[in-house]
């Protein structure tokens, strides 16, 4: 049951994997691959504000077991019809050198606005899902993830 679920997720991730845009081209600073959270968000939204929304379900652990592979699952409540669909799911983080982790472009043919992946976090920070809707609006959901060396038993 769970295993099947997983392959289902993997399937939908594979669909979007083909359209993931490498983010290196956004590196504006001298240092390769560096982009701040604000610049990344502005590049996605064109400066428009992204609205915090309950229809964006961001699942990420509060405390990462391993900062190098932090599982992120994003699901957006959307009918995914030609008239109303999720155009893109972006994952941003607040403190990595490159804040822009992933861009996934979707079409109504995806059927479901869902994405599961892993991101690398270089320390405790926020993870955001930024959603581009077909009507030109942007939604956002954010959660803090603690990356800790651990301490207590």
């Amino acid at each position: 049951m769970k295993r099947r679920d997983f392959f289902k997720h993997l399937g939908s991730a594979a669909v979007v994997a083909a359209t993931v845009t490498p983010t290196m081209s956004f590196a504006a600073a001298k240092q390769a691959n560096t982009i701040s959270y604000k610049n990344a968000l502005d590049a996605i939204t064109g400066g428009k504000s992204a609205k915090t929304s309950k229809s964006v379900h961001l699942k990420v652990p509060e405390i990462a077991e391993n900062g190098a592979v932090v599982p992120v699952t994003i699901t957006v409540d959307s009918p995914m019809t030609d008239a109303d669909y999720v155009k893109a799911i972006h994952i941003l983080v607040s403190k990595n050198g490159n804040a822009r982790c992933l861009d996934a472009h979707l079409t109504p043919a995806n059927g479901k606005a869902m994405l599961a992946t892993r991101v690398k976090l270089n320390g405790t920070q926020d993870v955001s899902a930024v959603i581009a809707l077909s009507n030109g609006e942007f939604l956002i959901a954010t959660q803090g993830v603690k990356v800790t060396i651990g301490g207590c038993g």
Partner: protein, 586 residues
């Protein structure tokens, strides 16, 4: 729910322990409290759940002093999970100097220890369990164990958990979950589970090695369904969610933990809709405050039998319709929960946290024989007298406790380091002032499967960052970002802390060896029981030695140990260790 309060009054009255008479009446012995008072219970419903948690392998009775400092973020301090001393006594209505005050708080501990004696022990616990099984009918009773059972004493360490599995089989544990159990390693856990009569359940341990057959599969059964008293009881297991960060990863490589509230909700729904159970129980190692958050996130759980944070909670708390109980630590208590459930609903319940007072509840001879047999191969080593202690040695409190200071002193003395880190876990033992320190006590304090003391270099900046990181694991205002332990204990260091400060800004006046920390300087640091060595450089391999050996040798050199409870930490925003909710002083 007032039954336990009435009990305290009763015991206090029997003992003549009211404040007015305590001063002039000659102290009465524990034998004057009748067993009836401890056993008294308003039996209810069709079945009984008996509960223990965090016994940490203490199959013999022990002294265990509760914390005199238990601070957290201001929204949490003074609430169940962060209550101690007088604030605890006030919250739960304990009579001063009563048996329950002795079990539940540090107040007057040494005097009361002499009066009431040691706590817990499987032989005494068994007598109580059998009393309830007889009263209710064996077929109507389940005994549940929330974990941290296999680890914490010399006999557990030396038999790699086996002695404690035998103790559980003797006690008749029906279902358990785990945390420190995992520090014996995956393979050993599976071996021990074959020897264990109880079922082991955990809905939040999932394979995460893509090359393993168990990838994305559950490692253990998520739940079990048991029938008692004509009711179907669904019991879901919740192992410690942060096992892979709080303990070395290598023990559970390929397993992922986490709270996993979404799958927990799925299993609650499955039990209710598909299996039509009458009652949903979670045996949990989340910790008392995290379980209060879990009850807010997950709907339809009737009871959470919590563990991990070692809180004795004489009264249940109810959050979002879920009743949460927790039964202290070290085998000091058994929780008795009578439930009336039928047609898929809990109609009523009654709870009491029963103190296992070893001077009052007679020992089961079979249990004594079992303990003796299990200890026999190690008696010679364990009973060696290493020295004596001038003051009471204990483990607990948010920042500092005397046994930790003794261990840090031993490390500083042998390793010649600038500072030492000792972990802030909450298990161990208590040695009363003036008593001998036995080798067994040293194992009870630091008998772990990864005992090495590592000595390495850290930059001042790294040390400062680490302390802030650890402080945020302990003091984050959101329990979901905490890991349920206390601050690491630092040797050779003093600091001030603003508990309610912002993450990364809590600590000030950090001094190492009496001098303000130099962020650019390289310090020689010794550490055990954690992962800090991975962050350091220049590991001194020749110095690596087990902490229990380092501590043993130091106590033998000292002969008389003199550690005061003065502490090395100044708390900026609280004047005392046990404030009531909303207060910063006592």
């Amino acid at each position: 729910m007032d039954i336990s309060r009435r009990d305290f009054m009763h015991i206090a009255a029997v003992l003549g322990l009211s404040a007015a008479t305590a001063g002039n009446a000659s102290p009465k012995t524990s034998s004057q409290i009748s067993l009836k008072d401890i056993y008294a219970f308003n039996a209810k419903g069709n079945f009984t759940l008996l509960h223990m948690c965090d016994i940490h392998a203490h199959i013999k009775p022990l002294y265990w002093r509760e914390p005199s400092t238990l601070l957290s973020a201001p929204n949490l301090t003074g609430t169940p999970g962060f209550l101690c001393g007088e604030a605890f006594a006030k919250h739960y209505g304990l009579e001063p100097s009563s048996l329950d005050a002795y079990f539940d708080t540090h107040v007057d501990f040494e005097t009361l220890a002499k009066k009431f004696g040691k706590m817990g022990g499987i032989a005494h616990m068994k007598t109580y369990l059998e009393h309830v099984r007889k009263e209710r009918g064996k077929e109507n009773v389940l005994f549940l164990d929330s974990g941290d059972t296999w680890q914490g004493t010399g006999v557990a360490l030396k038999t790699r958990g086996e002695a404690i599995v035998k103790a559980q089989n003797y006690l008749g544990v029906d279902v358990m979950t785990g945390h420190w159990e995992f520090t014996y390693g995956k393979q050993r856990v599976m071996e021990l589970l074959k020897m264990l009569d109880a079922k082991f359940v955990a809905q939040n341990v999932v394979g995460n090695d893509p090359f393993a057959d168990e990838y994305e599969e559950l490692i253990f059964e998520p739940y079990t369904i048991e029938e008692r008293g004509g009711a179907k009881i669904g019991i879901i297991g919740q192992a410690f969610p942060f096992t892979s960060t709080a303990n070395p990863k290598e023990f559970t490589e390929g397993w992922s933990f986490g709270i996993r509230p979404d799958t927990l909700q799925d299993y609650v729904n499955e039990l209710r809709k598909e299996h039509k159970v009458d009652c949903v129980v979670v045996i949990s190692h989340d910790g008392f405050s995290v379980d209060q958050e879990v009850a807010r996130m997950v709907h339809g759980i009737d009871f959470i039998l919590s563990g991990h944070t070692h809180d004795p909670s004489p009264k249940p708390i109810t959050v979002n319709g879920t009743v949460i109980v927790i039964a202290g630590s070290h085998g000091k208590y058994v929780g008795r929960l009578d439930i009336d459930a039928k047609d898929g609903k809990v109609l009523d319940y009654e709870y009491k946290l029963v103190p296992i007072a070893s001077n009052m509840i007679p020992a089961d001879p079979e249990g004594i024989a079992l303990v003796n047999k299990l200890y026999a191969p190690f008696d010679k080593e364990f009973s060696e007298v290493l020295g004596t202690t001038k003051n009471t040695l204990y483990k607990r409190d948010t920042f500092f406790s005397t046994f930790d200071e003794l261990i840090n002193n031993a490390i500083l003395d042998e390793m010649k380091c600038d500072m030492a880190f000792t972990p802030g876990y909450r298990w161990g033992t208590t040695v009363l002032a003036g008593e001998d320190i036995l080798m067994e006590n040293v194992y009870e304090m630091c008998g772990i499967t990864y005992p090495n003391v590592y000595t390495f270099d850290l930059k001042g900046q790294q040390i400062a960052n680490l302390l802030e990181d650890i402080a945020d694991n302990v003091f984050n205002a959101n329990p979901l970002y905490q890991q349920g332990g206390d601050m690491s204990r630092l040797g050779g260091v003093t600091y001030s802390i603003q508990v309610a400060g912002k993450a990364g800004k809590r600590i000030s006046k950090l001094m190492i060896g009496g001098k303000a920390i130099d962020l650019k300087k390289t310090y020689v640091v010794s550490s055990w029981g954690g992962n800090l060595q991975n962050a350091g450089t220049n590991l001194q391999e020749k110095k690596i030695r087990a902490v229990y050996d380092v501590t043993r040798d130091y106590i033998k050199r000292q002969k008389v140990v003199d550690v005061s409870n003065a502490g090395n930490v100044t708390i900026v925003d609280y004047d005392c260790g046990c404030p009531v909710k909303g207060a910063t002083s006592c």
